[in-house]
Symmetry: C2
Subunit: 159 residues, 2 copies
DNA sequence: TATTGTTATACTCTATAACTATA
DNA sequence: TATAGTTATAGAGTATAACAATA
């Protein structure tokens, strides 16, 4: 693989500095991301959770009583951006904002039974969408991909 | 790697259906994409080209006289969305819309000398940004990543 | 009828700044 | 002073639908 890449870069037909978008990691990352996001939407349907809402619900289920600030940090977004997400989940009655005795500034997020069920159902749908969309990748390749993506994340996220 | 993944999935501590976002390809893809896009912006500066404008300029340089419709198809976006991108590049005097004798509906896009120079400069900056951000990946890993991302793209783009 | 470029419009996702109520 | 949640606002980036000019 490295050999074929090196050969491609030195191809005299194109020159060493050919502005080939297709070789850039960022361009391929963006295009692949768009394909996955779009398929995610189709898979979960017109009334289904969006990717960001699913992520939030999933983390609330995994970490009961998490605060909004802590959740925003985990998701890598601003506090302010989380408000609409939690509003939607509360409107769907998938979670509740609970007052915390001892600090009246914070609100603990807790998934309802319906929320836990919706999260399980959504996860099944998401796994199905990934399995179908990535059926031309082996399990090894999927794991390699996740590992490489995590390496990129580790360079940009303060953790 | 597949082994460690299989072991992880069967970890009795978490159960086989744990809603672990971190294992999903889509979630990691999105987070990695955000990291790269944000670093791209910083690298090209406040007055620099955005990723989508750079992509368009790069393709116009690579395929002189391409029409807007054909370019939109190559970029995987709608014709209507390309208008603002071409407007910006024309305002920067990096390309021109040229009338085509024979079909007065179409306009051929041609990069100017300044546009070609800007494209070369931007490419150097983009390569620098990728080299720095991905310095914890080997060349082999970068190539593997690009290959895997292309596999995902091939499932969602009609080509 | 179909295609090219365009406009108008709206939606998603995100960020910044400022506010309020607490601490 | 600092923090949690909120609001208002703006900016990317994208899509859909409709239009005029042309084929």
């Amino acid at each position: 693989m490295a050999t074929s890449n090196a050969m491609r870069k030195m191809d005299p037909q194109r020159g060493a500095v050919a502005a080939d978008l297709e070789d850039l990691v960022g361009y391929n990352l963006k295009r692949a991301y768009i394909v996955m996001q779009s398929d995610f939407r189709s898979a979960l349907g017109p009334n289904g959770l969006s990717a960001r809402v699913f992520s939030a619900l999933s983390l609330v289920t995994q970490f009961p009583n998490i605060t909004q600030s802590a959740l925003a940090r985990k998701l890598g977004i601003e506090r302010s951006g989380l408000v609409a997400i939690i509003d939607e989940l509360e409107k769907r009655t998938y979670l509740e904002r609970r007052l915390v005795p001892g600090d009246r500034r914070v609100q603990a997020l807790v998934a309802t039974k319906a929320g836990e069920a919706a999260c399980r159902d959504a996860l099944v749908a998401v796994r199905g969408h990934e399995a179908a969309l990535l059926s031309n990748l082996t399990d090894d390749e999927k794991q390699t991909l996740v590992d490489l993506l995590k390496k990129i994340r580790s360079r940009g996220e303060d953790e």
